[in-house]
């Protein structure tokens, strides 16, 4: 097993708020040094509360955790010296410039005075903000703010980096640029990254391992490939030209595996075993003279894993959380 002594270890971590609301209900975590660990779940699942506890901003109600080898309750200052964090909202002062933020952050992190300017310039350049460094942050785009936020989290060369939904609200180009920088930090600088996200693609592309969290508990954990493998075979979704033929299509598809949730007007089957492929399905439909409007092969996704473990899709869970918040 990978060495987690300098990464993150958590056992039975719980956070209960006033009124008995349990945001985190006993989390176990083992994140190895140098790993990119993704915490995937809908809004309100407990991701940010977990990050706040691990970064020492919020004491846990029960359980214990170490970050970089330090206890989050008993050794808070040592934990903070070892970590960098970019929390959910880009925490910036709109009337200060990027360079002024960098100057303040290097000073408060007690970076050696002679190195502060060089360190600030290096990070601004790394995140592509040198040209905008003397502009007030209120003129920055969302992507620029996120990149500055990331740069500020790195001024004291932390060994661990916490990123709480770092790409939420970003356009695809900004998102991709941030992913590249995070991947580079882990690969070249050996930084351990703990990342929360509600984007399946982000977890899939970026993370070495993923923990899926729902209602304060980790419901599945592993590499993206391993998690998807637990779901098994791909599904084939077929929409017949004549919707009245759906029962006949279902009869045909059921020869190849178990029927599963399909698109509207469609019928879907999860292919059983390795003996069947898409071509077999097409041949069988053709032999029965069934015409189709649409036919699609779906590889298992992390959303399928979430569905299998919780009975809901990530989007559905998001909707439920919103409804709970409104009510």
């Amino acid at each position: 097993m990978a060495d987690t002594s300098k990464g993150i270890e958590a056992a039975g971590l719980v956070r209960e708020f006033k009124g008995g609301v349990v945001a985190v209900a006993g989390i176990e975590l083992h994140v190895a040094e140098g790993e990119i660990y993704g915490f995937l779940g809908p809004n309100g699942a407990g991701k940010s509360t977990t990050v706040h506890m691990l970064t020492t901003l919020l004491p846990p109600t029960a359980g214990r955790a170490t970050v970089a080898g330090f206890d989050i309750v008993k050794q808070g200052p040592a934990v903070r010296r070892s970590i960098g964090a970019a929390l959910q909202e880009a925490a910036l002062d709109p009337v200060l410039t990027g360079r002024e933020h960098m100057r303040l952050q290097t000073a408060l992190h007690a970076v050696v005075r002679e190195e502060r300017q060089a360190r600030g310039e290096e990070l601004l350049e790394r995140v592509g903000l040198t040209a905008a460094a003397d502009r007030k942050v209120k003129t920055y785009s969302g992507g620029m703010k996120r990149r500055l936020d990331l740069a500020l989290a790195l001024v004291h060369r932390p060994r661990l980096l916490f990123l709480d939904e770092p790409t939420t609200g970003l356009d695809p180009q900004s998102r991709s640029a941030l992913w590249q920088e995070v991947a580079r930090l882990a690969k070249e600088d050996g930084v351990t990254v703990f990342l929360t996200t509600q984007y399946l693609e982000e977890a899939d592309v970026l993370c070495d391992r993923v923990g899926i969290i729902d209602q304060g508990k980790i419901v599945a954990e592993g590499t993206p490939a391993a998690l998807k493998a637990t779901i098994g075979r791909p599904t084939v979704d077929v929409v017949p030209t004549d919707h009245e033929q759906r029962h006949r299509v279902a009869d045909v598809l059921s020869r190849f595996g178990d029927l599963t949730q399909a698109s509207p007007h469609g019928v879907a089957v999860r292919l059983a075993g390795d003996e069947f492929g898409l071509a077999d399905v097409i041949r069988a439909l053709d032999a029965e003279e069934l015409h189709v409007d649409h036919l699609e092969l779906h590889s298992p996704s992390l959303d399928d894993v979430f569905l299998a473990k919780t009975g809901r899709t990530l989007e559905g869970a998001e909707g439920e959380q919103q409804a709970e918040l409104v009510s």
């Binding site: 901003l57 008993k74 808070g76 903070r80 970590i83 959910q88 909202e89 910036l92 303040l104 000073a107």
Partner: protein, 262 residues
């Protein structure tokens, strides 16, 4: 100097620079405290000039009598400005960013006051220039003007710390703004327009006497219309320092609860 003290002073300096920069870059913080108090004193001076004919009124210039009010009114703006700034730091998560650094809580509070005190100083200089421009003479002379600057800056810091407490307690800029009219009530039930000994309505006289704002106004006023009145000055500084001390204790406690880092 010990390393801890040196580190804390360095942090205060860094946060003070940020506080001053951010204050001076927000015209909405700088301009209203200059315009509104001087407008109010001009209107009051025009309307209440006959008050000077009352027997026992301490001066024959109502403007000289009332010019102390802008200094206190300007300081009340400090409550709102300091509180709103800190509340914004809480709402945007900037306080969490600071909490993740080795910054001490005391450095945050003291550094945060730097912007308030700078603005307090600028306001006071402006009011002094305004007073001189409209013909008010300072009986305590140039030295008295410097004491006014010191007193007004102390009052601004005291009220600023009160604003910081409210921000840390509520975490909401809207709540801070809602307290502003409440603070103005203290100004209006003070001796701002009439010397306490000439207030005829009993309840109002009692209210003005127990209202600490009266003593702040009277301290500044004494330097303008009397000269060197040690009693009035001591009372004013004592009230300002007491408000400041109570606010620091409350703000420190609220900061400890707000920044519940382990």
């Amino acid at each position: 100097m010990s390393t801890t003290l040196s580190t804390t002073l360095g942090q205060i300096g860094d946060l003070a620079r940020r506080s001053i920069t951010r204050t001076l870059r927000q015209p909405s913080y700088v301009i209203p405290p200059l315009i509104f108090p001087t407008l109010l004193v001009a209107v009051n001076a025009a309307g209440l000039r006959p008050s000077t004919a009352l027997e026992g009124f301490p001066t024959n210039s109502f403007l000289a009598f009332a010019i102390a009010v802008p200094f206190i009114q300007g300081a009340l703006f400090s409550t709102m400005n300091a509180g709103t700034d800190l509340a914004r730091d809480i709402q945007t998560g900037f306080l969490n960013r600071l909490a993740l650094t080795p910054m001490r809580g005391s450095a945050l509070l003291v550094g945060h006051m730097a912007g308030v005190m700078t603005l307090g100083l600028i306001q006071s200089l402006f009011y002094i220039c305004f007073a001189l421009a409209v013909g008010v003479r300072f009986e305590a002379g140039v030295g008295g003007a410097f004491v006014i600057l010191a007193l007004a800056t102390t009052i601004a810091a005291a009220f600023g710390m009160l604003g910081a407490f409210l921000a840390l307690r509520t975490g909401s800029g809207e709540s801070i703004q809602a307290t502003f009219p409440f603070l103005f009530v203290f100004l209006f039930i003070s001796s701002m327009n009439t010397p306490r000994n000439l207030i005829a309505v009993h309840w109002f006289k009692v209210a003005a006497t127990i209202n600490p704002v009266s003593y702040l106004i009277e301290g500044v006023r004494s330097l303008v219309i009397v000269g060197w009145d040690e009693t009035a000055l001591l009372r004013a500084f004592a009230v300002a320092l007491t408000i400041g001390a109570i606010s620091i204790v409350l703000a420190s406690h609220a900061l400890g609860q707000r920044m519940a880092r382990t």
